[in-house]
């Protein structure tokens, strides 16, 4: 049980949202609602982007407009594309030091605990406030090593050659309707480049935040890990509560070169009115390892299936996906692994939790291409239901075009066990505390993979989700 002071501090949170505060809006520029080619031109002018990016955006908009809405998964029909701001720019210029940040934004960051996090051995902080990253710092030794960690707009400005080579190469605009939308209006996100053989041994972290009502956030992240290099990128998302629905549609592209290693960790905790429709995909070359750790607690709707395309021999892909759906939430999560070369291996572990009528699904694809001999894959999906009116579904898609492969698939659904509850309660734990402990144990395999401060945050988020869920 939480103590009295915790209860007071958290009063009113319950089914609402902990970070549901919002600051007065303070913008240098705000586009009009809705999207057409004129808005794109305006955006490109504001950002002073090269012609090829302008063309890319226009082409992407055409693709977006021509593609139908997906009819599978969650109901997206309530998204009103004409009622969204597609571009906001909160401050004039990019901040590198804390003193450059406007007080109102600083205050928001303070509440999210970013400076504190930085004190806690954070190496670099990239924080997205609205559409642009306004604060970015990176420890000096990495800059010396040639590691680049910028917001994506700066990445384009300062490193156009390499940017142009990889941008859109993993997820082309034609991939899906929301990837096309992001390609047309993207702003912010992170650009990470790790040179050959460099090991970034402290996680790179970015906080993202939406603040304006009805504003879509379309961040775009591009991570390039050169041969034999390694990096761990961590993203955590929070958003304040608003009366009308917000749209978040990000694209994350990752290239891991031969023998390289990349781990991308997400703790998604959007407020419960956000549509979170994200395309994440990595290409792993020979002997490379790509790991997605993807936890989804918030949002009204999430549709997100991080993918690893193993395109070189012995590449390895791993996806650890967690979805915790409460009242009025539909989280459709999972992962995709594509074996495109011999002796590649992959593992998907999915853990979904549903309560108070929430719905959490696993949707996954395992594909083994012709010629990917000796490939191995394991998929394990576990679902935990906290009550009788919540729902969990599993949609495993398997396409195997090669004989010589080993594939395993396991799925389980369980309810919070009355005997476990009684056992824990007989040792002095309150019912809610006991249930929380069982849920925390259920996702422990993932939490232990998180950096320490994120593990703590994750457990706190689980506790908040569990508040008031019993009785």
């Amino acid at each position: 049980m939480a103590t009295t002071s915790d209860r007071e501090a958290l009063s009113g949170v319950k089914e609402e949202y902990q970070y549901g505060f919002s600051k007065p809006e303070e913008y240098v520029f705000k586009s009009r609602r809705g999207l057409d080619h004129a808005v794109i031109d305006q955006m490109c002018d504001m950002k002073n982007e090269p012609d090829w990016m302008r063309e890319f955006r226009h082409r992407s908009l055409d693709i977006f407009l021509s593609k139908p809405m997906p009819t599978w998964g969650a109901d997206l029909s309530e998204i009103d594309f004409d009622n969204i701001y597609y571009y906001l720019r909160p401050t004039e210029k990019q901040g590198k030091s804390w003193d450059d940040i406007p007080d109102s934004i600083k205050d928001t960051f303070d509440r999210l605990g970013i400076p504190e996090a930085e004190r806690n051995f954070l190496a670099g902080v990239g924080a997205q406030y609205e559409s642009e990253v306004v604060y970015h710092s990176l420890q000096e030794q990495w800059t010396k090593l040639g590691v680049i960690f910028l917001d994506t707009d700066s990445g384009l400005r300062e490193h156009e050659d390499i940017f142009k080579e990889y941008f859109g190469s993993v997820i082309p605009p034609s991939d899906n309707k929301f990837a096309a939308l992001n390609s047309a209006v993207w702003s912010g996100g992170s650009y990470v480049y790790v040179p050959k053989g460099v090991h970034v041994d402290i996680p790179l972290q970015a906080y993202f935040r939406i603040n304006a009502q009805n504003m879509g956030q379309f961040e775009r992240t591009l991570i390039i890990v050169e041969e034999g290099a390694s990096v761990h990128y961590v993203e955590g998302c929070t958003a304040p509560i608003y009366a009308s629905d917000s749209l978040h549609s990000a694209v994350v592209e990752i290239i891991v070169k031969e023998g390289g290693r990349c781990r991308y960790t997400t703790i998604q905790n959007w407020s419960n009115n956000v549509y979170n429709l994200v395309t994440k995909r990595a290409i792993a070359e020979a002997g490379a390892t790509m790991e997605w750790i993807d936890a989804n607690l918030g949002s009204k709707v999430t549709m997100k299936y991080p993918a690893v395309y193993m395109m070189g021999p012995r590449a390895h892909g791993e996806i650890l996906s967690i979805a915790f759906a409460g009242r009025d939430q539909y989280l459709d999560a999972g992962g995709k692994v594509v074996h495109g070369a011999p002796n590649t291996s992959s593992k998907i572990i999915s853990k979904s939790i549903s309560k108070n009528g929430g719905r959490a699904s696993y949707r996954g694809l395992l594909k083994v291409a012709k010629g990917a001999t000796g490939s191995k894959s394991t998929v394990v999906c576990d679902a935990l239901l906290l009550d009788d009116h919540s729902r969990s579904d599993t949609y495993p898609y398997i396409e195997i075009d090669e004989q010589d492969v080993q594939v395993g698939h396991e799925a389980s659904v369980s309810k919070v066990n009355e005997e476990q509850l009684f056992y824990l309660m007989s040792r002095g734990l309150g019912e809610e505390e006991a249930a929380t402990m069982i849920v925390s144990g259920f996702i422990e395999p993932m939490v232990k993979e998180l950096p320490m401060e994120y593990a703590v945050e994750m457990n706190r988020l689980i506790q908040l989700q569990m508040e008031g869920s019993i009785g």
Binding site: A2, T3, M425, R427, G430, E433, I438, S440, A455
Partner: protein, 276 residues
């Protein structure tokens, strides 16, 4: 004051049926006493232990359970634990992903009242379990390791998931360790399983002998007399057909060993006998 658990004319039914399992149990256990409750399989011994701890599947239809003069029937299991009751389970369930140390720290913090205190402002104690004030980690750790050594529990168990993959003997060891950490006034030990192996038997009896003392009352529920070769009870009760039919001293256990339960059945039996 010496604590006492008084069970008065207790009638209990299984929740999802009309069937009465306990039919007027009377029993008093005081701190410092060791009671053995013996009876044939199916006589309701485990039901008694669950009912005392407040398992939701069992409904008290008559009588009362009093701890230090107050009825505990309306209390949740965790509130009973906080008043000083403990149940050592016959089959402790596994809780995957929850380490023994994390679980025990939370349990001890609840039972000893740490969770009633506001968390310190420096954020100490928020270790990933429910946002509550916990026993200071250093104190807890020292006590846990000391108790582990004392009760022959390998220190590696602190990091193992609660009861997951434990052997029968390891589960018993873990239950005894929990009991030692939670320091109850009255412990009910459900050892009705006839399949208890010799290792588990020794663990339980060693634990009882170490823990028994003026501060602890024990109700040891067992089917076989065997465990009583290792534990000397002050009182022996014969349980049959949902109630205590005879009470006496240790000599009663020896009578049961030499003569079995048949004479009990002959004397107190009804038509619906359950085979031994």
């Amino acid at each position: 004051m010496t604590s006492e658990l008084v069970i008065q004319d207790l009638h209990v039914s299984v929740s999802d049926g009309e069937k009465e399992v306990l039919k007027g149990v009377n029993l008093t256990i005081r701190q410092g006493e060791v009671h053995a409750l013996m009876g044939p399989n199916g006589s309701g011994k485990s039901t008694l232990s669950y009912a005392i701890m407040g398992h939701p599947h069992y409904t008290v239809t008559g009588g009362d359970i009093l701890l230090d003069g107050e009825s505990i029937l309306e209390l949740e299991p965790n509130e009973r634990a906080r008043r000083g009751l403990f149940l050592a389970f016959q089959y402790p369930v596994a809780v995957p992903g929850v380490s023994m140390a994390n679980f025990l720290r939370t349990a001890v913090s609840n039972v000893r009242g740490y969770t009633d205190q506001p968390a310190p402002s420096n954020g100490g104690g928020k270790s990933g379990v429910v946002g509550s004030n916990l026993m200071p980690m250093r104190d807890f750790r020292k006590e846990l390791l000391d108790k582990m050594d004392e009760f022959n529990v390998d220190r590696s168990f602190a990091k193992r998931y609660l009861n997951e993959g434990f052997s029968g003997g390891e589960k018993k060891r873990a239950e005894i360790l929990q009991m030692a950490m939670l320091q109850p006034k009255i412990a009910i030990m459900d050892e009705t399983d006839s399949g208890l192996d010799i290792d588990a038997l020794r663990v339980v009896s060693d634990g009882v002998n170490k823990l028994a003392g003026p501060g602890l009352g024990i109700l040891l529920i067992t089917h076989y007399q065997r465990i009583l070769n290792y534990v000397q009870p002050d009182y022996v009760h014969v349980f049959y057909n949902g109630r205590v039919v005879i009470s006496g001293g240790a000599e009663l256990a020896h009578q049961l060993e030499s003569q079995g339960y048949q004479w009990v059945k002959d004397e107190f039996g009804e038509a619906e006998l359950v085979a031994v």
